[in-house]
C-alpha cells in the first residue's frame, strides 16, 4: 500500500478527498454542522457510509449531541481546532468507543467497518466512533446440525454475535480470542479461540502461523480458511470440522481443541480433529449414555455400510454366490433373471441416479420439491424395477446405502464415503471380495498416514490410546469421563482432570 496520507487541517479538503477515494459513492454521507450559512465554513463534519451504520445511533448519539453542544456553546466562546476535538471526544459524543485517527487510510478503514468519522476544522486529527449497524440475521435454530434435546441456537453470519455466543457459555478469563484480518480486499475478521491451560499451546501457535501464511483476495466462507490450513489437500477426508452450534464449539474448546471463527459464515472450524470425532453428535451428551452409545455404534456401522454395501452386493452376486444361503441365492437369482446388465453396471446406474436426485433435491427451488420426490420414488424406483432394468434387491441396497449416508452427523465425512463408494464398487466388479479388501487396506493405510495439526487422524485406535476410548465407539457415563481426551493434546498432560475424584463415589 502507498504511504499513508495524513489528514489536512482543512475540513472541506479532508471530506472531499476521502469521499473521492471511495469513488464519490452515493451511500457515503457527509454531514456538515455548525458555522455560518456557507458550507465551506462548517466547523464539524460527520462522514459515514449509509449502508453500514445504524441510523438511530448516528442520529441520537452523534448528530444530536453535536448540535446541542454547538447550540449551547453559541453564546460562549467556542474552542477551535484541537481543543474542540478533545471537547467532543470527552463530553459530547455518546458512543461506546471513540478513537483518534491521523491519516486518510485509517479514516477509510473505519468507514468501511461501519464507524463514523467526525472531523473538526482546524486540526489534522479526527475522531471515529462505533456506529456499526445494518440488518443482521438473528440467532436462529440450527439448520444442519439439529438435536432433540439441547440448546436450540446456532451461530449467525456476524462474528461478534458468534464470539458472544461462545463467551456466554464459557465465562472464563482463560478463554482466549485472538483476532486477525485476512483477505487483501475483503479484510475479513478471523478469530482463533482456545482455552489457556487446556488447549495445547503448540497447536494454537500452529493455527496462528498457518493463518498468517494465507494471502488471498477474499475469504467468503470458513471453507476458504479450511483449505489453506488443513494438513493435506489430496484426501477425501476432512481434517478440520465445521460446526454451527455454539454448545459444540464450547464443549470442544473445553476438550482442548482450537476454534477458528470466520466472519460472514455461521460455520466455525475446529482443529485438531480425529476421524472418530466426526461420529460424535451433540445429542450423545444430552441423552442417557446407554442410548447414546448404541446410536454411536450404529453410526459407525452405517458409515461402513454406506461405503461398502453396494460393493459387497456386487462382489457376492458376481463372484461369491456360494456364500449366500441357498434360498436367498435362488430368490436373488430369480430377481436378476430378466435384468439385462451385469451387477456392476446396474449398481452404477442406480447410484448415479441417486446422486443426481440428491443434488437436484439440494439445488432446486423449494416449490418444485414434491415433484422431484415423486419422480425419484416412483419413476426411478418402482418403474425401473417393473420395466426390468434393475432388480428390486439392488433398489433396496442403494436406498439403504443412501439412508446410511445421512446418519453421519457431519456432512463432510459422509461426502468422503460417497466418493470412496464408487471406487470400491469398481474394485468389487473387477476382483470381487479380494478387490474390496485391497481397497480397504489402501484406505486404512491412507487414513493411518493422515494428521490433523500433529494429531494422528485415527487416534485413539491407531496409535492405540486406551484412556481416550471412553468416548469413541461408546460414550461412558459422565462420571467416568474424568480426564480430557489425551489424543487432542498429543501426549499425556498434567492437569488433565476435568472433575474431582470424589465425583464418582458420590454418584454411585
Amino acid at each position: 500500500m502507498a504511504s499513508a496520507i495524513p489528514l489536512s487541517k482543512e475540513l472541506s479538503h479532508n471530506s472531499i478527498s476521502i469521499s473521492s477515494r471511495l469513488g464519490n459513492s452515493l451511500d457515503v454521507v457527509s454531514r456538515r454542522i455548525g458555522g455560518d450559512d456557507s458550507d465551506s465554513a462548517a466547523t464539524i463534519a460527520i462522514l459515514y457510509i449509509d449502508s453500514l451504520v445504524d441510523q438511530r445511533t448516528i442520529n441520537d448519539h452523534i448528530v444530536q449531541p453535536l448540535m446541542n453542544a454547538l447550540l449551547v456553546g453559541a453564546e460562549q466562546e467556542q474552542p477551535t481546532g484541537q481543543g474542540m476535538l478533545e471537547r467532543l471526544s470527552r463530553h459530547v459524543i455518546a458512543a461506546g468507543s471513540v478513537a483518534v485517527i491521523r491519516t486518510e487510510e485509517e479514516a477509510l478503514e473505519a468507514l468501511l467497518n461501519g464507524f463514523c468519522v467526525i472531523m473538526v476544522d482546524g486540526t489534522d486529527e479526527a475522531l471515529i466512533a462505533v456506529t456499526a449497524g445494518g440488518e443482521q440475521r438473528s440467532v436462529d435454530e440450527p439448520v444442519t446440525q439439529t438435536v432433540i434435546r439441547g440448546p436450540q441456537h446456532s451461530f449467525t453470519e456476524n462474528i461478534f454475535t458468534n464470539l458472544g455466543l461462545i463467551r456466554r457459555i464459557i465465562r472464563s478469563p482463560n478463554l482466549r480470542l485472538q483476532g486477525k484480518r485476512i483477505g487483501r480486499q475483503t479484510q475479513t475478521h478471523v478469530f482463533v479461540a482456545s482455552i489457556k491451560g487446556i488447549a495445547k499451546q503448540s497447536v494454537v501457535d500452529e493455527v496462528l502461523r498457518r493463518l498468517d501464511a494465507i494471502d488471498i483476495d477474499g475469504i467468503i466462507e470458513s471453507s476458504y480458511v479450511e483449505e489453506f490450513i488443513q494438513d493435506r489437500t489430496f484426501t477425501p477426508f476432512p481434517t478440520l470440522m465445521n460446526i454451527e452450534r455454539p454448545d459444540v464449539v464450547a464443549a470442544s474448546l473445553l476438550e482442548g481443541q482450537v476454534a477458528v471463527i470466520v466472519d460472514g459464515t455461521p460455520f466455525v472450524l475446529l482443529a485438531p480433529v480425529t476421524f472418530f470425532k466426526f461420529f460424535q453428535s451433540a445429542e450423545d451428551y444430552y441423552q442417557r449414555f446407554d442410548i447414546a452409545s448404541f446410536l454411536r455404534l450404529l453410526r459407525h456401522i452405517t458409515f461402513i455400510a454406506s461405503m461398502l454395501l453396494p460393493a459387497l452386493y456386487i462382489a457376492i452376486t458376481t463372484y461369491h454366490q456360494e456364500m449366500l444361503p441357498t434360498t436367498l441365492l435362488i430368490s436373488l437369482a430369480a430377481q436378476r433373471e430378466g435384468i439385462p446388465f451385469p451387477a456392476l453396471f446396474e449398481a452404477f446406474l442406480m447410484e448415479i441416479t441417486f446422486e443426481v436426485l440428491r443434488e437436484a433435491g439440494v439445488r432446486m427451488p423449494r416449490a418444485i420439491g414434491p415433484a422431484v420426490s415423486i419422480v425419484g420414488a416412483l419413476v426411478l424406483g418402482q418403474a425401473a424395477v417393473q420395466a426390468g432394468l434393475v432388480s428390486p434387491a439392488m433398489v433396496i441396497v442403494v436406498s439403504f446405502t443412501a439412508i446410511s449416508n445421512f446418519v453421519t452427523p457431519q456432512i463432510n465425512i459422509a461426502i468422503a464415503a460417497r466418493l470412496i463408494r464408487f471406487s470400491l464398487m469398481l474394485l468389487a466388479g473387477m476382483l470381487g471380495l479380494y478387490g474390496i479388501m485391497t481397497g480397504v487396506i489402501v484406505l486404512l493405510t491412507h487414513l493411518a498416514g493422515l494428521q490433523s495439526f500433529g494429531v494422528p487422524y485415527m487416534a485413539p485406535v491407531a496409535p492405540f490410546i486406551w484412556s481416550s476410548w471412553k468416548d469413541i465407539f461408546i460414550r461412558v457415563p459422565r462420571w467416568a469421563m474424568k480426564s480430557r481426551p489425551e489424543m487432542l493434546g498429543g501426549s499425556k498432560r498434567k492437569n488433565n482432570a476435568r472433575m474431582p475424584d470424589w465425583q464418582r463415589s458420590r454418584s454411585e
Binding site: 456364500m323 470381487g432 478387490g435 479388501m437 485391497t438 486404512l444 498416514g449 494422528p456 492405540f464
Partner: protein
C-alpha cells in the same frame, strides 16, 4: 523418525507370526502330534528370540544394518546386510505368490495370477512407501478384526461340535522322533525363525520401554494361539484328511453349518489369511527396503519401487505351486536357517568375543539416519 509404542510391537509380532501360518497344517509329518511339533518349534524359537534380543540389547538404538557393520566391520557387514536384504525380499516374494495361489485356489478361480500379484504388490508398495510409523498403525487397526474373527471361528467350531479330541490320540504314537524331525528345521524356520526380521524394527521402540518383556509377551501370545489353532484344526480333520488337504483350515471352516445362515465361512477365512499375508509381505518388504537404504543410501521411494519390482519378478520364479512348495520345503528351509539361526549366533559370538555393547564402548560406525 516416528517411535513405536510397546503395544504396537506386540501387535505387530502377533499379526506377523499369525500371518499365513494357519493356512498350512504345520508339522503334519508328526501326524496327530503336529501340535507337539509346533510346541517344540515354538520353544526353540523362544531361544532364537533370546539370541535376537541379546543382539539388539547391545545397541538398543541400532537397526540390523548398523548392528552387522558394528560386529563384522564395514565390508563384511555390508555384505551380510545385503544377504539379509535379499532374504527379506525373497520371503516377501513367497508371500506374494502365496497370495495369488490362495486366491486362484479359492475365491477367484478365473483371474490370472499376475493380476493378483500386481495388485498385492501395489497395496504393499503403498504401505512400504508410507513407512513403518504408518504401517504399524495400519496393523494396529487390522489387529482387532483378525483376533475377533479367529475367536468367533473357534467358538463356532465348538458350537457346531466339530473338534473331537480322540483325533489327537494316541500321543507320541511313534516316539519322539517324528515330532523332532517335523519341528526341525521346518517349523522353526517358518514361522518362528522369521522373527529375525524384527531386528530391523525393534530399535524404533520409544525409549524407556522394556523391549525384552514386550517382544517375549507378543511371541508367547502368538505361539500359544498358533498351537491352539493347530490342535483344533487337527482335532476337527484328523491326521489323514489333514495330510492330503491343500488348505486344511478352509476345509475345517467349511464344516461349520449353523442355522442355515452361517455356511461357507471359508470366504471370510480367506480374507483373514489375506490380511495376514499382506502384513507379512509388507513387513518383509519394508525390512528389505530399509536395509538397502541403510546400506547404499538412496531415497525411500526409489528403493520401495525397486524392491517391489524384484518381488513381483521373484514371485513368478517357480512354474507351478508344486515346484514352489518342494523348493520351499527342501531347499529354501536350509538356506533360511543361515539367516535365522547361523548368522545371528555368529553375530552374538563375535560380539561377545569383541566385548561389544558393554557400558562405555561406543559403536564404531555412525548411526544410519532413518528419516521415515
Amino acid at each position: 523418525m516416528g517411535k513405536l509404542s510397546g503395544y504396537q510391537i506386540v501387535v505387530m509380532i502377533i499379526m506377523f507370526e499369525l500371518g499365513s501360518t494357519p493356512l498350512f497344517e504345520l508339522g503334519i509329518k508328526a501326524k496327530q502330534d503336529s501340535w507337539l511339533a509346533m510346541t517344540l518349534a515354538a520353544s526353540i524359537g523362544l531361544l532364537l528370540l533370546w539370541v535376537y534380543l541379546r543382539i539388539q540389547g547391545r545397541f538398543p538404538g541400532m537397526g540390523l544394518a548398523d548392528l552387522l557393520r558394528v560386529h563384522f566391520g564395514k565390508f563384511l557387514g555390508t555384505f551380510t546386510g545385503l544377504l539379509f536384504g535379499l532374504y527379506f525380499t525373497y520371503e516377501a516374494s513367497r508371500n506374494a505368490r502365496d497370495f495369488s495361489e490362495l486366491t486362484v485356489m479359492t475365491i477367484l478361480q478365473q483371474t490370472p495370477q499376475w493380476v493378483i500379484i500386481f495388485t498385492t504388490a501395489l497395496i504393499s508398495l503403498y504401505g512400504v512407501y508410507k513407512g513403518p510409523t504408518v504401517f504399524f498403525r495400519v496393523v494396529e487397526m487390522l489387529f482387532p478384526i483378525v483376533i475377533l474373527s479367529y475367536g468367533v471361528i473357534v467358538i463356532l467350531l465348538f458350537i457346531a461340535r466339530l473338534p473331537n479330541y480322540h483325533r489327537l490320540l494316541p500321543m507320541l504314537e511313534n516316539g519322539v522322533g517324528p515330532v523332532v524331525s517335523a519341528a526341525i528345521p521346518d517349523i522353526v524356520s517358518f514361522p518362528f525363525g522369521q522373527m529375525v526380521v524384527f531386528l530391523m524394527f525393534w530399535h524404533r521402540l520409544s525409549p524407556g520401554k522394556k523391549l525384552g518383556r514386550i517382544a517375549s509377551m507378543g511371541y508367547i501370545i502368538v505361539a500359544v494361539l498358533l498351537i491352539v489353532l493347530n490342535a483344533i484344526s487337527m482335532a476337527v480333520l484328523g491326521p489323514e484328511i489333514s495330510s492330503i488337504s491343500s488348505l486344511p483350515l478352509l476345509e475345517v471352516v467349511q464344516l461349520i453349518r449353523i442355522a442355515n445362515i452361517l455356511e461357507r465361512l471359508d470366504v471370510f477365512v480367506t480374507l483373514l489369511l489375506y490380511i495376514g499375508l499382506y502384513v507379512k509381505m509388507t513387513l518383509f518388504c519394508m525390512a528389505a527396503v530399509i536395509m538397502m537404504k541403510n546400506l547404499f543410501k538412496g531415497s525411500h521411494a526409489a528403493w520401495s519401487a525397486a524392491i517391489i519390482l524384484i518381488i513381483c519378478g521373484l514371485a513368478f520364479l517357480e512354474p507351478n505351486n508344486t515346484v514352489r512348495l518342494w523348493l520351499g520345503l527342501t531347499v529354501m528351509v536350509k538356506l533360511f536357517t543361515i539367516f535365522q539361526i547361523a548368522l545371528p549366533i555368529v553375530v552374538l559370538a563375535v560380539g561377545a568375543m569383541r566385548g561389544l555393547g558393554k557400558k562405555g564402548t561406543e559403536p564404531e560406525t555412525a548411526h544410519t539416519a532413518d528419516e521415515i
